[in-house]
């Protein structure tokens, strides 16, 4: 099996999700897929099955990827708490209408409604 085709297919799925989905969590999942597709080449395209250099690089890539996920998740939680939504379109509307300052209130209403 040609691993490059598999990697490109995963990359294409990730880019599709990045372009079409409006939920920030879905965007993060798409970015994860793109990162997995890119980093799997270190091992799968290594010249020998037991090639150690690719494995070492991949482990380093994991740590960078985990940092990225942590930062993006923190931003996501903050945005959700401030504006009460994770939808990119709604966030853009909030920014355009200048109603971003109302975010705290709307989150308060949401939390009251859920409890």
């Amino acid at each position: 099996m040609d691993y490059l085709v598999l990697s490109i297919t995963l990359l294409a799925i990730g880019i599709y999700g990045l372009l079409t989905k409006h939920n920030l969590l879905k965007v993060l999942i798409s970015v994860e897929l793109i990162a997995a597709a890119a980093s799997m080449n270190f091992v799968l395209l290594a010249p020998l099955p037991n090639e150690a250099l690719g494995e070492a690089f991949l482990i380093l890539a994991f740590s960078a990827d985990t940092c990225l996920t942590a930062v993006v998740l923190a931003l996501l939680v903050m945005i959700s708490r401030k504006y009460g939504t994770c939808d990119i379109r709604k966030l853009a509307e909030l920014e355009n209408t200048g109603a971003a300052d109302l975010g705290e209130d709307s989150f308060g209403e949401l939390s009251e409604g859920s409890s």
Partner: protein, 154 residues
Amino acid sequence: MILEMLAIGLVASAFLAVYLEEAVYSVASLGCTFTLISILYFLRDAAFVAVFQISVGVGMLAVLFLSGDMLSEKPSEKKPLWKTLLAALATVTLSLPPIFFFTATPPTAVFPDVLFAQALWNLRSIDIVLQGLVMLTVSLGIAIVLHEKRESVG
């Protein structure tokens, strides 16, 4: 044959992770993708990487499950049948290239006698930079939490 099955499962679960509306199902599909990738690594004799993939993936998925359940809005309307069928067709179509474009790459020895520990030692400078990045992320997170606490108190 097992590699082709893995490729089909990998592409299908990745597509479902992007396609499904409910965030929790989507994260479950992503977990399936990570598991299949780690099996692929095991089959390539990269046991260390497979274990790392599983451990990092499990931690990330736990957080994603929590945040997905917390932050996502439930879809109000059901998807029409033709959209589901179209997604199934897209999954099948995307699974075809990894199966049929078979080109076996001949192995060429570039660094044949480098051990895993030696490779990690040779890359230690990059490792130190990345560990610094991890520490920076942790300190950034703690600073944000403390800042929010101070704002809520004041």
